[in-house]
């Protein structure tokens, strides 16, 4: 494990994050804006999948996907900054790993939606109820992403060195 720490703390990312006073707060601020973009788009897409506001065509909801992806990309990049900046803070914290597992589950759930569920929705008429598979994927997505958000925000207070 210590070689991994050594490698992370020897990279230029570590220098960028730690050598300037404002990098960390700037990354945190961007991480917050990214999560707002992601959650906002995800909320609308998932609630529509569950059955809210059926007047919105399923194909139109797809238009929100880039917003979610941009939000996620911002948070992936800034998240790597935190991890390489101070790996000790994260690697020994169970809340961090729980958050990562939830990100992974959200990603797998997204793939199920993209390749299994969404194609089956193409025949859905306007105002028609979504199938159970769509409701399940939408609900799971909300649980995973709000879990990611919660464990991410509470990370400093959980696990060793928390409080």
């Amino acid at each position: 494990m210590s070689t991994l720490y050594d490698w992370m703390t020897s990279t230029w990312i570590n220098g960028l994050v730690l050598d300037y006073r404002w990098t960390w707060p700037a990354l945190e601020t961007l991480h917050f804006l990214g999560l707002c973009l992601l959650i906002g788009a995800v909320l609308i897409m998932d609630l529509r999948l569950i059955g809210f506001q059926r007047v919105i065509p399923m194909s139109a909801v797809h238009g929100l996907m880039p917003v979610a992806i941009i939000g996620f990309a911002i948070n992936l990049i800034t998240g790597v900054g935190f991890l390489f900046g101070d790996p000790h803070l994260y690697v020994i914290n169970y809340a961090f790993w729980l958050k990562m597992v939830l990100v992974l589950l959200a990603g797998l759930n997204f793939l199920v939606f993209l390749f299994k569920v969404e194609p089956s929705l193409a025949t859905l008429g306007p105002g028609e109820a979504t199938p159970m598979s769509a409701k399940a994927v939408g609900a799971a997505s909300l649980v995973f992403w709000f879990g990611v958000l919660t464990f991410g925000r509470l990370l400093p207070y959980l696990g060793p060195g928390g409080g």
Binding site: P25, E28, T29, F32, L33, L35, C36, L37, L38, I39, G40, A41, L43, I44, L47, F52, Q53, V55, I56, P57, S59, A60, V61, G63, L64, V67, F146, L149, T150, R153, L154, Y157, G163
Partner: protein, 156 residues
């Protein structure tokens, strides 16, 4: 000032400061409420400005009800966080700027909501008229600004 001193000294303020759970609970709820309010407000603003025009604005406007629920979470959790250190926050320029931005953001959300209720039939599948687009731009500035200043209260 006497009121703020009293607020800090209430058993709630005392609990929030001294209990192990108080601050994490309030700050966790505040992040959840923010993601709902700011996330939905930004998505609606983008729609007003002409993105994802296939989504009828009248339908998207219904999500504002959920956004207000997010706002309520943050009004309550924010009041709790404020009670922890009321006398400190009240002299903090970053905090005061954030409050002004939230206040202005709420006004823009209200304006957009009433504009949509009145006239969105005419722009249901296009960008909104100029005046409404200006409100959406102000809204983006307010909510992004509130998020940035809110996060930076801890650093400034």
């Amino acid at each position: 000032m006497a009121f703020l001193t009293w607020l800090e000294a209430t058993s709630f303020g005392d609990w929030a400061r001294s209990s192990l759970l108080g601050y994490p609970l309030l700050i966790g709820a505040h992040a959840i409420g923010m993601s709902i309010m700011v996330g939905l407000a930004l998505a609606l603003d983008m729609r007003v400005l002409g993105l994802f025009k296939d989504i009828p604005y009248t339908a998207l406007n219904r999500f504002l009800g959920i956004a207000w629920a997010g706002f309520a979470i943050n009004f309550l959790s924010g009041t709790g966080l404020f009670a922890m250190q009321a006398t400190t926050y009240i002299t903090d320029g970053t905090f005061l700027l954030k409050m002004a931005l939230v206040f202005a953001g709420v006004i823009t959300a209200g304006l957009l909501q009433s504009a949509a209720n009145r006239s969105s039939a005419s722009w249901s599948s296009s960008a909104a008229p100029g005046a409404i687009r200006v409100v959406a731009v102000v809204s983006v500035v307010c909510w992004v600004g509130a998020t940035v200043t809110g996060r930076l209260i801890a650093y400034l």
